[in-house]
Amino acid sequence: MSKSIWPKAPSGFVAAALSGHAALGLALGALLYIVCLSGTLAVFYNEIERWEDPSVPEMSAMTPEAAGRTAANALAMLEETPHHFGVRLPTPDMPRTVVFAEGRVLAADAEGVIVAEPRRAFETFLLNLHIYLHLPGVVGLTFVGFLGAHAGRPDHFRTAGASAIFRDAFTMRFGGSKRLGEADLHNRMSVWAAPFHLVIAVTGALIGLSSVLALFVAVLAYNGDVTKVFEPIFGPDQEMTDETPAPMADIPAAYTNLKSAHPEVHPYYVSMHDPATKAQTLSINALYPRRLAYSELYAFDVDGTLRGSQGMVDGPVGRQAFAASYTLHFGSFGGLPIRLAYGVLGVALCMVVATGLNIWFIKRRERGRPAPRLQRSWTAVVWGAPASLSLSLLAAGLGVSGAGLIAVFWASLALAIAWAVVAASNTLVSRALRLATGALIALALTHYAVRYGEFLMTDASIWTSLALLLAAIAFLVAPVRSLFVRRVAPSPAPAE
């Protein structure tokens, strides 16, 4: 055998490098899993927002005059004129009126009186985890987009030339060999949930990678001006040109004019730039009940005259596709039934990621190269992420928010992984973390019941509380049962 001309690396170094590669793959798998898990929960962001602060007034509709009063009252409470200013009007999915003004969030009652600054710490934390992985701005968005692009890789769907995948499309073998069970679960979910998973991965990657793609497009086509890139889709962003105070744009007239011109739409967001100045602009986003686009954008003059629409539902196909990608990704196009379907399919996606790496560990073991420490770390991610989210939920209830909540999540997850590395067994890690998840959800619910007892039976609270209770029970059942089930030693094999 000819000798290699390359110097041979020390075996310890090579083993460490291989282990490093495995750890890198594991880390990416872990981050993908966290994005999938947080995304599954983020589908219910409306429910979470309502549950988190059930004291906020709810209403099924708001009059145009009350919408105008809401904007005026909110503006009067702010120290400076905000550049971006919006009033979210009640919809069947979110029956609240909320004002967004440069980072501040104010809730109004049905008459347009500002009554509270709603608590949204956990919802904000969860959405930031899913969209940015808590990394800064474009960096986080791009990294999550990278994970989405790789989650949508064709080899993950195993469709290319793998006829057995389709032939066995209805085959499930639970309860037998662990590897067969895991492989069947992985493959069946990969096949049957593939259309959903592909849509989620591609729209997620689109949302995530758009910013970095825009940098290249700006250099090539817009003299480096990134703000110009998305103008063909979303329209231009208004710049402050004249700060001179002026009467606020006529929101009730705009609302009424829109409803008379397009009675089929549901106006749900009044958006203004530099309100109550001479530079102010007014537009209203409206939902089309039978379209995927997240909204159509209608522009108005300050006296409420309808100027035209952006063309999100009837403009160029590209604009319609962009507008549809957000609703497709977040499952916000068909009310609660679609969100529930997205929830179930999201859990399936988490299981595809989890079982994928489980199979890899089993195969390694079968090939005589087990990696118990890494496997326990992976188990700690799979069951530790829900535990850390539950701890964050509890912490948010106790008043922790922003960076504190981010620290609680990542520190507790790191602690779980560190413990798993030295833990006695994989089963112990899995059971302990499931037990912790169930217990923490139960604690968060108990604290919530004490704090918001009077609102517990309201629509905003009851269904999400019940869902959390069921989740707590589901997490607790298996580990608690294992404490009471006596394991019988296998009978010795008969002598030959």
């Binding site: 075996s11 309860g175 086509a221 063909p232 068909g334 420490r373 994989n426």
Partner: protein
């Protein structure tokens, strides 16, 4: 036809398709091609009915979510029940799913697999990204449609192209094939971008081009 009756019809199409596929694939040794074809045809036929029921784009999106859910239920429910029964019979005494194995000794193969894996990671990550970005930007520059369509096409194409090239980088065992292949795609993309940039320049021999050039110079 009302939305409700269209939805029911779409559900019937979809369930019939699932039953046909289930029956065809249940005979794993000799699956029936006719049933498989009819199953897929019914699934495809249900999409226009979904569009009728829920809207031109919202309907099929709803249909796809329903299909995935229904199929998972068909696959998982009976298997889950079988698994629970089996676990109960195995009950105690069955093999534990615990690893319980010691860590392997720290000795490894030669450096080549390590170098190879590094190469694959670089090729599937930044390499495939650069090639996909070049190709996407070339298509954006050369595509004749309106700006919104070109932008949306680029935004959808980029992650798909990156995923496909990363898949090639990971799955193809021959480094001498995939590395030059991805490099050539990047070069083709870069050439397309260059052509697009040249095409976007104002033509100096036309009156408009001259005026544009003079204005640019004066500016």
């Amino acid at each position: 036809m009302t939305d409700i009756s269209s939805t029911i019809l779409a559900l019937v199409f979809m369930l019939a398709a699932l039953v046909l596929l289930y029956r065809a694939w249940a005979r794993r040794r000799s699956p029936r091609g006719r049933h498989i074809f009819m199953g897929w045809a019914l699934l495809a036929a249900s999409m226009p009915v979904w569009a009728l029921a829920g809207g031109v784009d919202k309907g099929p999106a709803t249909g796809i979510a329903v299909l995935s859910l229904a199929a998972l239920a068909v696959v998982l429910a009976p298997a889950w029940a079988r698994g629970v029964r089996r676990r109960r019979t195995l009950a105690a005494g069955g093999p534990s799913d615990d690893d319980g194995e010691p860590d392997p000794p720290r000795s490894g193969p030669s450096a080549i697999p390590w170098l190879r894996r590094t190469g694959v990671v670089l090729l599937a990550g930044p390499g495939a990204f650069l090639a996909a970005a070049c190709l996407t930007l070339a298509l954006f520059m050369l595509w004749p449609g309106v700006e919104a369509d070109r932008l949306a096409f680029a935004a959808f194409f980029a992650p798909l192209a990156w995923g496909a090239l990363a898949c090639w980088a990971v799955c193809d065992p021959l480094m001498r094939r995939k590395a030059p292949g991805i490099f050539i795609i990047a070069i083709i993309g870069a050439a397309g971008v260059a052509v697009g940039l040249v095409a976007a320049q104002p033509e100096p021999n036309t009156a408009a081009g001259i005026v544009q050039g003079v204005e640019a110079g004066a500016g």
